[in-house]
Symmetry: C2
Subunit: 392 residues, 2 copies
């Protein structure tokens, strides 16, 4: 394989380093976030396959109508393929056969241990539909290159994804900036009489028409609005906008998961309709204090669970220990929300913080039949502390 | 297993029928569209697993915070599980172990051939992130129930998904109705000076705040705007909104993929900024005529490729044969766009139309550096012809 370098040299070097101490001679990935990690390209239809060898060679097989996009963000060697069109009628995996044969031939007998994504993971929505290779990619590889051994490399990929490079941090900042445009009108907009769906739609529109998106090829994302008792349900693993009409005195939670060219955010702000009640003031005071305690605890070398303890003990001291029903955070970046994304800011987490890690800090209090309040920031660990990417 | 019936008796009967002539004693599915097919429930996080046996028993393992939603649409036996929370820190698949053990014990030795989704497929975006089991589900099943044989059942599922039941057709109609709300403002909105992203955002907002959504638990979807030369690029497998400013004389293509409780649409309309040019009038005349020819060709028993021939020959007769760069359509419903979704309305398609099939009819003409026009309807095959679900 001729020498091609991924555009992000820091990332390239880290992958080479990880491969050097791994059992893998190469990794082959067909999922969008991992193709982004290995090559810098975020596939639209999840129908691209990246190969990264221990020699530092990077190639990516891309459907021909995505080549124009791929060229803008990767310097990996792009191998275009023709997915089924008017000339043929077969599943995408069959179109990958020919380019994979060429690629595997180049790998040769020096690459006999190949890492694949085989374990359960979490994938972001890259488009309205996405290709899922399931067992077809491992099966095709075994058929084309039967001499090799195929081993799960999910753990290595998760570790690599956890710590962002300087360039990836720039992308995360851009993603947070684009998301901010969606939150900007919230304070002025939220009022009694509007339906949750109207609020969510207005913020979604502000996000989608944001000028900030000009430095980005593709943005996408979701804004949710949950009001009154519905905001208490936001303790669940998912958010859901309903048709409830906002009332005076409501807590109104705005939750967003947005994306800029493959880099995701996880952000929540909570508003009140009208003057906050004493109870709401008390909730906000606790959450603000917990948030600052969490942020202060963040340093390279610190155990992730200490950050959780920092926020949780504040919530507890305010009498909101039981109301804070979930972990303080989880890794965010190559996906918006992955409870097992590293680092896990969780009471039981064995993870240790490193500079470049990005995650959310989301102290919250939920009371069934009343409402919930959450403040969720996206942060990056720096050399000497923390950078809050969500500066609003 | 005690008797529980999926809410859609017609669907239940068809699955039992398909299993009876299949090699499978049961199917086990972890992907959202197939869980919807088997149980009537569309999982939020794709972390649910459905089991349907040849005896007609249906069970679905659901994360506890989705049970409230699941109960509204399925009468299958719901087995709740606790995904990792504050008490534990492990991947979802590990939480499935206990409920799966119980389920597999009930299956017993009578169910030794189990159908799994192993082939490449296309999955809709059910949420900002979704669980992907990859090889972990087959692996766990083999470990828990090693006596069974696990065989790909993807083909059977694709056939089942192709033909909708009366209840599923009602959902498809609802989905099309909700989507219509997003298209409604387009004609009045589109004008020179707006950016594509502003147009897309406004239509997205109209869609998301639609009152029509009240009869639906969850709607989601994407509106795209591609103008001028960008509209020619819509011949690709994906749409992309950019920051281009609309100009007088532009073709403006609005493409949407929307969803109502798991039932998807694929719809496109094309507008002109200002008075259409002679060329644009000629394109529209050809596409209208092709569309009607396609719709007229649709009847149960007809070969899907004859519908493609009907539209294609009209486009050719207008001199737009080469400009019509893709197939006339593909199955739509359990996903928005799957080039291999049945029936494939494609020149090489071996598929035969049946009443209840839903697909798109999308005659189009694309000219590089100028623009593209496409009219994409969502239709259902009826006993004696066709019903256009996109009545706008």
């Amino acid at each position: 394989m001729e020498g091609h370098m991924a555009v992000d040299q820091e990332r390239h070097a880290r992958i080479v380093e990880s491969l050097a101490v791994s059992p893998f001679d190469a990794v082959v990935c067909g999922s969008a976030p991992e193709v982004l990690l290995l090559t810098g390209y975020w596939p639209v239809m999840s129908a691209s396959v990246a190969v990264f060898t221990s020699d530092g060679e990077v190639k990516v097989i891309v459907p021909e109508d995505e080549v124009e996009l791929a060229e803008k963000t990767t310097e990996a060697d792009i191998i275009p393929y023709k997915p089924a069109g008017l000339h043929a009628l077969h599943p995408t995996i069959q179109s990958l056969r020919a380019p994979l044969i060429g690629l595997l031939r180049q790998l040769g007998t020096n690459h006999t241990k190949i890492g694949l994504q085989l374990e359960q993971g979490v994938g972001p929505a890259s488009y309205a539909v996405s290709t899922q290779f399931r067992s077809s990619l491992p099966k095709l590889l075994s058929e084309l290159h039967p001499g090799a051994e195929y081993i799960a490399c999910d753990e290595m990929l998760e570790s690599l994804k956890a710590v962002k490079t300087a360039k990836e941090l720039e992308w995360m900042q851009k993603a947070a900036l684009v998301a901010a445009a969606g939150f900007a009108p919230a304070n002025g907009l939220i009022r009694a009489g509007l339906r949750e769906s109207e609020v969510a739609a207005a913020l979604q529109a502000a996000f989608e028409s944001a000028q900030a998106a000009e430095s980005v090829q593709r943005t996408s994302g979701y804004f949710f609005c949950m009001s009154g008792p519905n905001s208490a349900k936001a303790a669940a693993a998912y958010a859901r906008t309903r048709q409830r009409v906002l009332e005076e005195g409501d807590l109104v939670m705005i939750h967003a998961n947005t994306c800029a060219d493959g880099y995701w955010t996880d952000i929540t702000r909570t508003f009140t309709v009208g003057k906050p009640s004493e109870r709401q003031v008390a909730m906000r005071a606790a959450i603000d204090e917990a948030r600052h305690a969490g942020l202060r605890a963040i340093h390279p070398g610190v155990k992730a669970r200490e950050v959780d303890q920092a926020t949780r003990s504040v919530m507890r001291s305010h009498g909101f220990g039981d109301a804070f029903k979930h972990a303080t955070g989880h890794g965010v970046g190559f996906a918006a929300a992955n409870p097992n994304g590293l680092p896990r800011i969780h009471p039981l987490s064995p993870d240790v913080l490193e500079a470049g890690m990005t995650f959310n800090v989301e102290p919250a209090a939920y009371f069934d039949d009343y409402g919930g309040m959450r403040h969720c920031d996206l942060v990056a660990v720096t050399a000497d502390g923390v950078d809050t990417l969500t500066k609003f």
